[in-house]
Amino acid sequence: QENYDIALISKGFQHQFWQAVKAGADKAAAELGVTVTFEGPESETQVDRQMDMLAAALSRNPDAIGFAALDSQAATPLLQQAKDAGIPVIAFDSGVDSDIPLTTATTDNVAAAALAADKMAELIGGEGKVAVVAHDQTSRTGIDRVDGFVNRIKENYPNIEVVSVQYGGGDQLQSTEITKSILLANPDLKGIFGANEGSAIGVANGKTELGSNIVVIGFDSGAAQKGMITSGVMNGAITQNPVGIGYETVAAAVKALKGEKLEPVIDTGFYYYDAATMADPEIAAVLYD
């Protein structure tokens, strides 16, 4: 068996979500006996920095590349370069508008956020004011999750109003401050959706600090969020399967290198979980610390 060198360029690095993807990739690497590197820019706005990372990865001449595009158009020339060099590319997390990637391991963020909206509506009794604290105004996941949530509310729940959508950069502290000011400005608020891990934890912290009893729906998992759901501060959360994303990306790359046929999309799925369902084996398998 060859020791393949696979370079994964992700959208981020330090957030727990991306660390979970990395963990999945590392797991696959260990099982399949390949070497994996994992890199991502500081923030999901730094499209050009991601290009530099991709360029450096190409210079390294890896056997395969996994790529989560911050902006799929911007990457086209470099992906073409990879194709020309015969390096297979696997897309992960979000799709690339191009036929170069052999497959895409991803979650449907719009549908996932819509599920969060359904759960929110259910928990607040179908009427009242809600708000969203999201991580990023311009990144794909930020846009999809906010749109998915807001549009589902608009379409299906006429008695619910989204009074505020604010962005805290995924920074827990900033999201906490934002949550507090939203709560203080809207004393009759019923619930807040935190659109990624940092935002969700920030929302829950803000709720605790003000002693509020609003409904909080989070996104992703991680030890803190799981703890908050257990303790009831957070009512529930949507989780993707980041470990699965990482694992499937590497596995697909190895398959491609071995000349095996790949499905065009590997849907890694998403789930809603709360205190009651957290221990279900199917859910527990996709949660991470």
């Binding site: 330090q14 502290l173 906490t176 401050e177 507090k180 004393p187 600090e209």
Partner: protein, 331 residues
Amino acid sequence: MTETAIPAAKSGPRISGAFHRLLAFSGLIALVVVFSLASPNFMQTQNVLAILQATSVNGVLAIAATLVIITGGIDLSVGTLMTFCAVITGVVLTNLGLPLPLGILASILAGTFCGLVSGTIIAKLKVPPFIATLGMMLILKGLSLVISGTKPIYFNDTPGFNQIALGSAVGSVFPAVPVPNGVLVLFLVAGLAAFVLSKTALGRYTFALGSNEEAVRLSGVNVDRWKIAVYAVAGSICGVAGLLIASRLNSAQPALGQGYELDAIAAVVIGGTSLSGGRGTVVGTLIGALIISVLANGLRILSVAQEWQTVVTGCIIILAVYADILRRRTL
């Protein structure tokens, strides 16, 4: 940064320092008045406490930055040093399971040590403060990730820990004003820093270094030693900030911290401390930090769209400082 040295205060009688200082609040007061009128929610106790709470971490970092800036230096590492200290506390309390006081000590010692290192690089190797602390910023950012294994460290096993920032010693005595401990810590640090600056030799040399380092050296003072001391003290204050943020999040978040230095330095400069050194006050820095939090909170309370919040914040920062300049000129 060059400042025009027009002998400013030449005419007119000198007005008392206290009155002068009071007026420095004017920008802050104007903001508060405008927001109070615009939204009934703004002046509620809870919101005021939220603003103070939001100021605590940035305020403490800004005080650390103030000391360094008065020497004519700069400290870009305050944010990631704070995180590093939080991570160290996490290791001590959670990974090693040691008791709370040791965790607190560890954070402050870690901060002091890193400050010592930065100070030494600056004073002994003559590396410009910008570079030395930029390097430190990156090193500490990386080390925080390495030490924590790129995962947050939670303090669930140290029950009292989140009381450092979130508990309210005041509230337990006067339930009507549950001022969070984090805010008390901010004022404590501010009081101490102001005391050090005005009453101790360290404070004197801090101003002297920023005023004319060469003259201090020619006066036979061991310039290096004092400079290192200032960075060490600033580092220990970052250690306090590390405790505050870790307590507030009940976890050490290893990825947080970068970018916080800009807010801290902005608070210092809005507060009237000159980046060229030699002058500055802790009170000014507190006001600067408050202006930043009041603006952020007020604009959110008014539900201004986020992109416009940014625009308005930019304008008001310039205006606030300009108002302060006008005030000083006309007095």
